[in-house]
């Protein structure tokens, strides 16, 4: 899967979970500091990514990811 496609689908999940427009989301954004994700929402984001990409992520590693670009890169590795 191309990185652009991953990025689009990641933005879609973020917009759904954090209840915002996809246009407000940039790759350099931090989930917590810039997008306002609270503790539960951080976990919901990871659950959303797992569902969207039909993958199972290592929880500790996944929750280390702090930014949109980090999530895209992490998922790219997961789906090979």
């Amino acid at each position: 899967m191309e990185r652009n496609e991953i990025a689009e689908r990641v933005s879609k999940v973020i917009a759904q979970v954090l209840k915002m427009d996809e246009g407000q989301i940039a790759e350099e954004h931090s989930f917590a500091a810039d997008l306002g994700a609270e503790s539960v929402q951080s976990v919901e984001l990871m659950a959303g990514f797992e569902e969207e990409f039909e993958i199972e992520m290592d929880e500790d590693e996944a929750l280390e990811v702090q930014t949109v670009s980090g999530a895209i890169d992490f998922i790219a590795i997961q789906i090979g």
Binding site: S39, V40, V43, E44, M46, A47, E50, M57, E59, A62, L63
Partner: protein, 462 residues
């Protein structure tokens, strides 16, 4: 091991392995109380050394007054309830008699029936003693009950002597000694309860009286020597060195042991909790020369209560570094039984309250999820049958919910479910507060319903 940067106590010592101070906190037992030096107290201008290591080696015991002082603070127990509690105390204290004695009233038919039925159980410990007023006529009751030792009220402060008993010191002194002599004549060991001793004139009354008791004890067999119960009736005792008599516990006990020659095995501390010092005072008395710490189950006693027996048990294990035959599970069984009788044990009460090892904060729950030792005092699962728990509120976070779910499903180690799998339950919890304005904690029943809905496979397998 990592590089050692410095050893002068001011520089960081890096290490690859955490120092969990396990010689004190080995987790399988209540934390050990270890001493690395003596205790000092200045008495009459001299520095007096007390050796806590020697104190720990003495035959320290716990005595119980649940059925006497404990009953003064509540409606009376039935005979059946007293027998049940006595039986459980025997199991708790174990075959070494860590709970050495318990005392009963003798004034009603029910008091005497309870005593008889407890004795019929055949336990060696706790030994059964009684409590009477300082009245010679009461020895008939003691004798008829077949009790070998009795406590008797020998009030020691002028508050009691002058204002309650309406006597002067000489009259009180003589009357008390007359009752002690009567006990010996009846072949009963007397235990003088120096009521209100932490408000008494120590040199003017207490010391002359105790010295006379020691002198007269020399004329009877050693197992009949007078015992002294130091009664901190109003909780005025202070455990720290440097305090004046009569409130100083170290000085008071030193006067007994050193000046009056009263041996530690004949000394007992009885406290009250009016100033929140009751357990610390009792533990201090052990270290300075009283072998017996008098206590009640869950501290129930007159007004603010007495030293809690279960607190003394945990202190005892901490000092001795060993269970010494104590069955710690009985603490929970007794608490359950007392609760079934309608006794109200506060939720945050140490060792037995509903929430004593329950955490609410998510950050604490995260610690518990990583390793329960971080936020649990010792292995409460093994010693009490009470694993650490989380109570779920909006402060619990996903960590708290995850911990609750794993505990509920009984999952351990690799089987444990991670946070991502429980996110829908965590969201439901948060919505209760954010969307519905809830103010109370989420109940176990509600969470079980959520587990059934969102983790049906795991729920079915549990």
């Amino acid at each position: 091991m990592g590089a050692q940067i410095g050893t002068n106590g001011r520089e960081l010592i890096e290490t690859n392995e955490p120092n969990l101070v396990e010689d004190q906190f080995d987790y399988s037992l209540p934390p050990k109380i270890k001493f690395d030096g003596p205790l000092y107290e200045e008495i009459d201008g001299e520095l007096v050394k007390f050796d806590p290591k020697e104190a720990v080696q003495r035959d320290l015991v716990i005595t119980d007054t649940t059925f006497r002082d404990g009953q003064q603070a509540r409606p009376p127990y039935t005979v059946e309830q007293q027998v049940k509690l006595y039986d459980m105390l025997a199991k708790l204290g174990g075959p070494n008699g860590v709970i050495r004695q318990t005392e009963f009233f003798l004034y009603t038919a029910n008091d005497r029936k309870a005593l008889d039925e407890c004795r019929d159980l055949g336990h060696q410990y706790p030994e059964i003693t009684s409590w009477i007023r300082a009245d010679k006529r009461d020895f008939r009751l003691v004798k008829e009950a077949g009790v070998k030792e009795t406590g008797m009220l020998t009030s020691s402060s002028d508050y009691h002597i002058f204002m309650k008993l309406k006597k002067d010191r000489r009259k009180a002194f003589d009357d008390y000694l007359e009752v002690v002599e009567a006990a010996w004549e009846a072949d009963i060991r007397p235990r003088c309860h120096l009521e209100d001793v932490t408000r008494a004139d120590i040199d003017g009354f207490v010391m002359p009286f105790v010295c006379e008791l020691v002198r007269r004890s020399e004329q009877v067999a050693p197992d009949m020597h007078v015992k002294i119960r130091l009664c901190d009736t109003m909780g005025f005792g202070i455990p720290t060195p440097g305090v004046e008599l009569p409130r100083s516990i170290p000085k008071l006990i030193y006067r007994m042991t050193h000046d009056a020659g009263m041996p530690p095995e004949c000394l007992e501390w009885h406290g009250h909790n009016d100033f929140h010092k009751v357990h610390a005072n009792g533990a201090t008395a052990w270290l300075y020369g009283c072998n017996a710490l008098n206590s009640t189950l869950f501290g129930f006693g007159e007004r603010t209560g007495n030293p809690p027996l279960e607190g003394a048990i945990i202190e005892y294990i901490g000092l001795k570094g060993d269970l010494c035959g104590i069955d710690t599970h009985m603490i929970q069984e007794i608490a359950d039984y007392m609760t079934s009788l309608g006794v109200d044990i506060p939720h945050n009460y140490p060792f037995v309250g509903r929430d004593f090892n329950t955490t609410r904060a998510g950050i604490h729950a995260g610690g518990l999820r990583a390793d329960e030792r971080i936020y649990n005092i010792f292995d409460t699962t093994e010693l009490f049958g009470r694993p650490p728990r989380v109570s779920i509120t909006d402060k619990s976070g996903v960590d708290g919910v995850t911990l609750w779910v794993n505990e509920f499903l009984g999952l351990k180690g690799e089987e444990k479910i991670g946070k991502i799998k429980v996110h829908k339950i965590a969201r439901w919890v948060m919505d209760q507060y954010e969307e519905h304005g809830r103010l109370s904690a989420v109940t176990d029943g509600e969470l079980e319903e959520q587990v059934k809905e969102h983790l049906p496979d795991q729920y079915a397998k549990r």
